[in-house]
């Protein structure tokens, strides 16, 4: 009998103290995905990768803002968004206390400015993304950086420009 009590004491308490003491999950636990708005360039990689469509991107009516949305109620905590993010802007944290009483509280969003083409004025890409590419190309230097001034034009304008350049070149070749 006493041996049993002694054994129980030595074994200690198996029950966790969770609601009274914080519960610590091991490293690599996939909890609430935390979005770093500063690092994010709104490239939409996470929205494409998300198998449950918890992350979505939405263009506003006047196409001036693109909104990154996450619905924690739909998230399945698979970590695909973290895997595909080129900027490491989304990370699955150990936060697990996601219970809400109101369904609207499950949503989180962040709006990003959309850049307009310097030629035709049409919105074509997220401004932060374009800035990042410009930054990157200027750091890389070499042949990659030669087209840097074309970055603020939309795809249609760039195509047109290339076609015109080609036409001009062909004409010169014809003259020679």
């Amino acid at each position: 009998m006493f041996k049993l009590f002694k054994e129980i004491r030595e074994t200690g308490d198996a029950t966790v103290e969770y609601p009274f003491a914080p519960y610590e999950f091991p490293d690599g636990f996939r909890g609430k995905p935390e979005h770093n708005e500063k690092l994010c360039i709104a490239c939409e990689a996470c929205a494409i990768a998300c198998p449950a469509n918890a992350i979505t991107m939405e263009l506003s009516e006047d196409q001036s803002l693109i909104t990154w949305n996450i619905n924690y109620g739909r998230c399945i905590f698979c970590g695909r968004c973290q895997e595909v993010c080129p900027m490491f802007a989304i990370e699955l944290t150990k936060e697990f206390e996601l219970t809400v009483l109101n369904k609207a509280d499950l949503g989180e969003s962040c709006a990003y400015e959309v850049a307009r083409c310097s030629c035709c004025g049409k919105p074509y890409a997220v401004k932060k993304e374009v800035d990042y590419v410009r930054n990157l190309l200027s750091k890389m230097g070499g042949p990659a950086a030669t087209d840097i001034k074309k970055l603020d034009r939309c795809l249609d304008c760039r195509r047109l420009e290339d076609a015109e350049a080609f036409q001009l070149q062909a004409r010169h070749r014809g003259e020679a």
Partner: protein, 260 residues
């Protein structure tokens, strides 16, 4: 989404059951001064059983929800709280409503798991209603796929008004002058990405990132004697798997240097 393209008169939508004022008041009163155990009845409305496993983990000795008087009962007639898991398939709608009506008023309805909250990964499936709330008045949503036992205990505590919810809706607009920066500017972009890819190939996105960050930090710190620093890093590493990745990255760097 497909449902947006079909005219609404062709889509039958279930009418959610609404609480009448008297029951809502009784429920509020119950939550204000709940002084007894809460009995939970669990309804599986087409889940994958992951949620059930976590609920049973919650009532085992390690997490022990029964120390708070939360007990899982086998009949809705005994229940104070109904716990709906699963994305609410078409054929489970009727049983879910029957279980709801069988439980005595006032009762708390909990939507459990990603499927219960919004339909989760099955939200646009043809045979589900997309969660519990298109059918029943839900009081508390516990997201997670599945919610871990501590998250379940937190959910119970929120449902009973003991703890407050931590998550709140937020909407931000990113400032226009927000600057982007390139990670590890000292290392050429193509070299950095080839390191990242190699580390990822060797040990996955999670540990790969940790390892490659440590490696690149070592490189960018010691610019005089890069290979010496890497060799020291490899020598100090006790984990053989990590060492293998470091050695692989070192070989990669070496190949870059030789090609020049």
């Amino acid at each position: 989404m497909l449902a947006d393209n079909i005219p609404p008169q062709l889509q039958w939508k279930p009418d959610p059951i609404t609480l009448d004022a008297k029951v809502a008041e009784a429920k509020k009163k119950l939550l204000e001064s709940i002084k007894r155990s809460v009995y939970v009845y669990r309804v599986d409305c087409g889940g994958c059983n992951g949620c059930e496993i976590e609920i049973f983990a919650t009532i085992t000795a390690v997490f022990d929800a029964e120390r708070f008087g939360i007990k899982v009962v086998p009949s809705p007639r005994h229940a104070d709280m109904l716990l709906y898991t699963g994305a609410m398939t078409r054929s489970m709608r009727e049983p879910a409503i029957r279980a709801y009506h069988a439980a005595p008023d006032p009762k708390i309805v909990m939507s459990y798991g990603a499927c219960g909250c919004t339909g989760g990964i099955f939200h646009d499936n043809y045979c589900v209603w997309g969660g519990t709330d298109p059918i029943l008045p839900v009081d508390v949503y516990v997201p997670g796929c599945p919610p871990t036992p501590p998250a379940t205990i937190f959910g119970f505590a929120c449902a009973l008004g003991i703890l407050d919810q931590k998550l709140h809706a937020s909407h931000h607009v990113a400032p226009a002058d927000d600057q982007t920066f390139v990670a590890f500017p000292a290392i050429p972009y193509k070299v950095r990405t080839s390191f990242e890819r190699e580390a990822r190939r060797m040990s996955g996105y999670y540990f790969g990132k940790k390892i490659v960050d440590e490696f690149m930090l070592t490189i960018s710190k010691d610019k005089e004697d890069v290979f010496g620093a890497i060799d020291r890093l490899i020598g100090n590493e006790t984990d053989a798997r990590k060492r293998a990745v470091f050695m692989d990255l070192r070989a990669l760097l070496m190949s870059k240097v030789v090609k020049g």
